[in-house]
Subunit: 448 residues, 2 copies
């Protein structure tokens, strides 16, 4: 059994839905379909979810909503017309119109309810479409599917016990069509996952029914070994481990919702990223392990917008609990750090720049300087982190040499070098302007 | 004005004392002499401090002490005979004998008092010796010198206010001879610094009188750019910064007592390491800065006996305060860590192996695993840390490349790589058996 999730662009219009039909028909194992709301059907189009957010905001502001309702309905109507569907449109209209009758309890509850109806309506439409075209399909609401979630509007998480109910979905004879993106709380409120959360629903269903594959259909052929916007005809990655996928979670690898991998990872269900517009492309398979006969480095990821905070104190490494006190202060400032490489008497804290304002940065600087009685503190902005990643690195000597030589040849200074005992990745902190150059240089030595 | 400290081997017998006399005579700036207790005058000899520890233990155990007293006295007597000194011997005998009349208040007080008399007696003897040989000298007890310390027997530290008194030493006409290793508390108890603490006394005096140089005479020509026991005719380091000295503080660079540099560092007084047996050798000068026209790497240090604790948890880097909780647990176990390099979802903790017993290690493993809900924990023993150090690294690109290539060519796997933003050192964790090979390989690329 496979759980097959289709993203918004794969479901944006009738033409796309026909591709989806063909994909589902081509493999009888595809019995659990998780759908997003309709995405952009052309570059200037607006995603239905965004329209619903406007609708919700207008409603909350007690403004006129007729126009926006019409726009939303027209998106579904256009597909029904193109695909000659008659039944679901009535239900969809009723749902969209009835939204504005929602009691104004709390604005984020209202927002979640509105947002969720994009997926919900589309699931109904798609179930009808499949049935009408020789694939008997049943729409199943997340409540009936058993997607029981915590009461955290806009950013909910699944409850452990949910899986006991979800596994019963197996017994459905028909193909099951489940709206992604949201679940239902123990007191029947709708709560959505964070944006892009249909990926999460798919993964939850896959874990719940213990599928042998979770297929995630999107609009790219694969995950690439580097940022394809930087590297021309960048090599696709055919196989990847969950750990590698995580290490590559920097910019350029945001194909999948981060949290979407958790249920699949814990249940050890392979995930495959495929392209609705090119379903014959092998895509990228993400699983617990992969053959390591291939090269040591599988991907190069880079991300900018980091700040490095350098602390020096004479005899620091003799002071018990020094690192602890640093992290106490970071915690006090609500700061999350990424890395903390150290010398004997110095520590560098790498964190996301957007966590600091000039004011809070000044306060942090003063706090660290005085509380820790530092000899020196230096804060540098506009740092990029570049990571080379691969399970194979552990078994091959000289990867660091190859990488640092490539960067040295480009005259790129390494502010920080960081490799943990996993030997799964080596991270380099460099100045932002060199990020693309570094990516190209590393790509060349490891992939060309 | 220079403060000149002589170590135990430089003062082990009459022959050595004659060298010391020549050194003091050769430079009228050498007006503040800090002395250790007599060290080994031949390989099988016993240091006077060790004899005094035996004496103290016998006294505390209420055992017979006549023999050990005689042995101690004979060491001083031999020098007095050789150097034809008459005055101080009486005082020395009285002091050694009177030790056993110490009230048995607390054993560590007794221990400190006994230990301190090695330096104390020797200072008296040396003052007489200098005076008798044309260098008018006065013995000054640490109490009179103003070395006011905290009441921490065996591991005391100087009190801030002490420096106000110490500076008055300047006004002495004669050369001042001060016993190293101990100070006096506000209620007149003797407290010693940790072993080797005469270096600390010298540094304190240098800071107190604001000397323009702190000379530390020992039995090596210089600090070497790598462990001379591993590298044949290893290049000596002529100039070194305080920061570099600290980064090199791993094995093979333990020429100077770690804490000895603090007062000099804070008062910015240059320190020079010189050889009593070869005073014309330039030695090694340690100061705040040095000309960087020389090579990027100034030294290679290595130390064994580390353990690496590798932790992995899926989505670790999204968990706020994760590193903090790790350090909380280390703190709870009273563990001091050296480094903590990290990937996206993993952290490696490098710490000294001797802090853990098989039992405490198992407890730590369980605690980390359960409290942090880790996916994986791996503890590896017998790790060596190898560091390449140099202020010049910051301004020269490709040092990491050179080092990692050298290690790769030797087929040495890098368990961990760690370079902070100081770019003052790069640390590599490798398996212990490769330590010497790694040192040689790095020495070859950076020094041959």
């Amino acid at each position: 059994m496979k759980v097959t999730k289709f993203g918004g662009s794969s479901l944006a219009n009738g033409t796309q839905l026909k591709k989806v039909l063909a994909i589902i028909k081509s493999d009888p194992e595809r019995r659990f379909i998780v759908v997003s709301a309709p995405g952009k059907s052309h570059p200037l189009d607006i995603k239905v979810t965004d329209l619903l957010i406007d609708y919700a905001n207008a409603f909350l502001a007690k403004q006129e909503t007729t126009a926006i309702e019409a726009t939303i309905i027209s998106r579904f109507q256009a597909m029904c017309d193109e695909l000659d569907l008659t039944l679901s449109m009535t239900t969809i209209k009723t749902e969209i119109y009835s939204l504005k009758k929602t009691p104004l309890v709390s604005s984020d509850r209202v927002m979640d309810l509105f947002k969720s109806s994009g997926e919900n309506c589309h699931a109904r439409l798609i179930a009808e479409f499949l049935t009408k075209n020789g694939v008997p399909a049943t729409y199943v609401h997340p409540k009936d599917a058993g997607i029981l979630v915590e009461d955290i509007p806009g950013d909910t998480v699944i409850k452990r016990e949910a899986y006991h109910t979800i596994k019963h979905l197996k017994h459905h004879k028909d193909v099951v069509v489940i709206p992604g993106f949201f679940g239902v709380t123990s007191n029947d409120s709708i709560c959505t996952f964070s944006r892009g959360g249909s990926d999460v629903t798919g993964s939850i269903i896959a874990a719940g029914i213990n599928a042998n594959l979770y297929e995630n259909f999107t609009d790219v052929d694969a995950i690439y070994s580097a940022n394809p916007n930087i590297i021309d005809n960048c090599a696709p990655i055919t196989e990847l481990t969950f750990r590698e996928m995580r290490e590559l979670s920097y910019a350029g690898f945001s194909v999948l919702h981060d949290e979407a991998l958790i249920p699949a990872f814990h249940q050890n269900i392979p995930v495959v990223i495929k392209n609705t517009n090119n379903p014959d492309a092998p895509g990228t398979r993400i699983s617990a392990s992969r053959p390591l006969d291939t090269q040591s480095v599988i991907g190069i990821a880079a991300d900018s917008g980091f700040t490095s905070i350098f602390l020096r104190k004479y005899l620091m490494n003799r002071e018990f609990g020094f690192g602890f006190r640093i992290l106490e202060i970071l915690k006090e400032f609500g700061l999350q750090y990424e890395h903390m490489p150290s010398g004997i008497d110095d520590i560098t804290i790498i964190l996301r720049q957007n966590q600091l304002t000039p004011t809070s940065e000044q306060q942090l600087r003063d706090k660290l300087l005085t509380d820790l009685k530092l000899d020196e503190i230096k804060i540098e902005h506009d740092i990029s982190m570049v990571a080379i990643v691969g399970e194979g690195m552990k078994n091959s000597i000289g990867v660091a040499a190859k990488a640092t030589t490539a960067l040295a040849n480009e005259g790129i200074n390494l502010e920080v070098i960081n490799q943990g005992a996993s030997e799964l990745s080596i991270l380099f902190a460099i100045r932002e302007p060199y990020e693309e150059q570094a990516t190209r240089a590393l790509y060349q030595v490891f992939f060309d």
